[in-house]
């Protein structure tokens, strides 16, 4: 990841700006936050375009083909492509190899059913025209229906049936220690599941069961928290290590210089604020 000296300075500045949030909300953080929002919104749009729309939509409508061999409808269809090429040359490229003209993108098989996807996508854009904006609901409906159908099976299979299958353990394995462990696990799953009964009042013996369930859930939450602490600290170490790297001579002492400047500015701005508050 060689980003040059200018890159290193910007990276260090942005890193320190975000870290300055820990002190308080300040100009540096606000600036970094807004730059971040701007850059990332454009980044994801760019990625979606070049990694999704271009190869998967246009690439499926017009896979690369040798123009001279086309006939009938396809000839007309690639004619449209040519028009698009004339307007947006970068997105709809044409190649000429040894005098043979190729039009189209990539080598996926042609699939004109993607015209429906294109249509649904365009419906989304109708939002900009209030009168026919409601058509976008059709696209939303497609997305929601797809999500419901896809996830229903996925979760039922792996999270419900799969986990039940994994929990079918012998209560007695022939060895005391592992038997106890299995029983601990099974009691946990059953009582934890019971905690999620909504239509039964949790009282008396049932309350005890759901209480045991909560304890198990809490052990799980504690453990996840512990693991997360570990992962998060590792990340911070990585960031600090980069900052130490960029304080070297080959990057023009970016870290120490920027750090000092930022501290000075922060101290000055907070000092200026305080008298105002006193008045």
């Amino acid at each position: 990841m060689y980003i040059g000296i200018l890159g290193a300075w910007i990276a260090v500045f942005l890193t320190l700006s975000i870290l300055s949030y820990l002190y308080e909300d300040n100009v540096f953080y606000k600036l970094a936050e807004h730059i971040f929002v701007g850059v990332s919104a454009a980044h994801w749009a760019t990625i979606a375009f070049w990694n999704q729309l271009q190869p998967n939509l246009f690439g499926r409508l017009w896979p690369q083909a040798e123009i001279a061999t086309l006939e009938g409808f396809q000839k007309f269809w690639y004619g449209i492509y040519h028009v698009l090429h004339v307007i947006f040359g970068k997105i709809f490229p044409e190649a000429k190899v040894d005098g043979v003209i190729y039009r189209g993108i990539g080598d996926q098989p042609q699939n004109l059913s993607y015209l429906i996807a294109l249509l649904l996508g365009v419906f989304m854009l109708f939002r900009l025209i209030p009168k026919i904006g409601w058509l976008s609901r059709w696209s939303l409906a497609y997305v929601v229906g797809m999500a419901a159908g896809l996830r229903l099976y996925g979760y039922m299979s792996s999270d419900v049936v799969g986990q039940i299958h994994a929990t079918m353990l012998p209560l007695w394995t022939g060895d005391l220690a592992s038997s106890i462990n299995n029983i601990i696990l099974i009691v946990g799953v059953l009582s934890g599941l019971f905690y999620f009964f909504f239509s039964v009042e949790h009282k008396g013996a049932l309350k005890v069961v759901s209480k045991i369930g909560i304890y198990y859930l809490m052990i799980y939450f504690g453990a996840s928290f512990g693991f997360a602490v570990m992962g998060r600290i590792s990340l911070l170490i990585g960031r600090f290590n980069d900052l130490i790297l960029y304080s070297g001579k080959q990057y023009g002492f970016a870290t120490p210089i920027l750090l000092v400047i930022m501290i000075v500015v922060l101290v000055l701005t907070t000092r200026k604020k305080k008298p105002e508050e006193e008045i």
Partner: protein
């Protein structure tokens, strides 16, 4: 002239060789019971003098695609479904010259119309959704359904009310994922209920979202809620705003909104990842009432520690039944409960069969893997000889050379249980041997019918 002659001679020679060993054969067969079809098993009848075989498949008239060049005689490969395909094999000698050629009969594979391997999942689906549907229909006939109180859900109205009193806004984040996640949809459903409350209380509502589709759907939701409460005048599309798709840029933006607008109530309801704690901690630092809800198990701990109330797992999905007053929703919650009870019953039955299976009947699956005999092998050999009911001399002969991977020690049939195996393992370790307990799953599954029940739940 000379060249021509040599070539002729060579060809002749080749011809003779291929004639001499003309028994090269290739046989292709569609693999049975493959739900997705397309898998073909190929076997080659070898010939003398061949060091490698080049297998090709037909893709069009006269066009061949190399599948693999191999020295093995059996392989699996893929072909397109519903297309007649032939295979060709060429035997190559050491110098990569073709010495023989053979063709397979043409075959065709087909995907199934029903994936029998998923039959158990299909039954589970029918069962679970059947139960839920039944209770929904029952609820329609006006049967009262009790729901136990959930603290987090009772706090919704209070939080919105407090925001109104303080003259501050209500912030609602429906997660950071797109509309293709059920959690996001669930978050939007909850947003609908919260928007009704803010409409009633005339509180300001601010919904930052990180996906454009969620923005559109969120606007629809909020508008519908304001209309249904009779306050379309209070609705504006500026309530729901898109910032960026990026996880951390979005959480930076939400932090900014929290710090500068200081909302009195913060709802974090949807699918969250690592940014959950950034938002929840910032919300906490500005003193807002925070109610979180998510189906992401790994993020619940952070919400539990940093928020006032958290809807844990299934509670989050049940929220809309609590917040609304549709009997159908109550019915579906009841149905989910019954499905859960059924699953628990099945699980308990599975526990019993497994216990019978492992603890009492089956034990053949367990064996010990001896990796090293330690400094004093003779004691080790004695233990092994006793455990496996084998002559001590045979044992010495068998285990004196263990190799890299170690050697298996099978305990005599009448003595095998996992506990016994562990006892023997400890004895061996005491003598300085290096042993691990291993389990042969194939043996286990074949061995016992009690295991069949558990297998009903296997698959994906």
């Amino acid at each position: 002239m000379m060249l021509k002659r040599t070539v002729c001679l060579l060809l002749l020679l080749l011809g003779t060789i291929s004639f001499a060993y003309a028994d090269l054969e290739i046989h292709a067969e569609a693999k049975a019971k493959e739900p997705d079809g397309s898998i073909v098993n190929i076997t080659i009848t070898p010939i003398k003098g061949a060091s490698k075989y080049k297998v090709e498949k037909s893709i069009a008239e006269g066009e061949w695609l190399t599948v693999l060049t191999t020295s093995g005689l059996s392989l699996d490969t893929n072909i397109g479904n519903d297309v007649q395909t032939r295979f060709r094999v060429q035997a190559l000698d050491e110098n990569d010259l073709v010495i023989a050629e053979a063709f397979s009969e043409s075959i065709q594979t087909e995907a199934m119309w029903f994936n029998t391997r998923r039959l158990n999942r299909f039954i589970a689906l029918m069962l679970i959704s059947g139960v839920i549907l039944y209770y929904i229909s029952r609820a329609r006939k006006n049967k009262k359904i009790y729901l136990r109180p959930v603290a987090g859900l009772q706090a919704f109205e209070e939080a919105v009310g407090r925001a109104t009193e303080m003259g501050r806004s209500v912030l609602f984040v429906p997660g950071i994922m797109d509309l293709d996640q059920v959690e996001t949809i669930s978050g939007l459903i909850i947003l609908g209920h919260v928007a009704k409350m803010t409409a009633r209380y005339e509180a300001d509502l601010n919904v930052p979202v990180s996906r454009s589709l969620v923005m559109e759907s969120g606007r629809e939701t909020v508008q519908a809620s304001y209309i249904s409460e009779g306050r379309p005048d209070l609705y504006s599309s500026d309530m729901v705003n898109y910032y960026t798709d990026d996880q951390f840029a979005f959480s930076a933006a939400v932090d900014g909104i929290m710090l500068r607008e200081k909302p009195a109530a913060v709802f974090l309801q949807g699918k969250f990842y690592a940014e959950s704690l950034i938002m929840a901690e910032t919300g906490n630092s500005i003193g807002a009432i925070q109610i979180a809800g998510t189906g992401s198990p790994s993020q619940i701990p952070f919400f539990v520690t940093a928020c006032d109330y958290t809807l844990i797992g299934e509670e989050f999905f049940a929220a809309s039944a609590y917040l609304g007053d549709d009997p159908k929703l109550l019915g579906s919650i009841k149905g989910q409960d019954i499905a859960k009870a059924l699953l628990m019953l099945l699980l308990v039955f599975g526990l019993i069969t497994e216990t019978i299976h492992t603890g009492i009947y089956n034990s053949d699956g367990f064996f010990l893997n001896l990796k090293s005999s330690g400094n004093d092998p003779s004691a080790v050999y004695e233990i092994i000889s006793e455990a496996s009911d084998k002559n001590i001399n045979d044992v010495v002969a068998e285990y004196s050379n263990l190799g890299k991977e170690g050697k298996a020690v099978y305990i005599a049939k009448n003595k095998v249980t996992k506990g016994n195996a562990l006892k023997i393992l400890k004895k061996l370790e005491k003598e300085g041997a290096e042993v691990v307990l291993d389990e042969n799953l194939d043996l286990k599954i074949k061995k016992n019918k009690w295991n069949l029940y558990k297998n009903l739940f296997a698959g994906s």
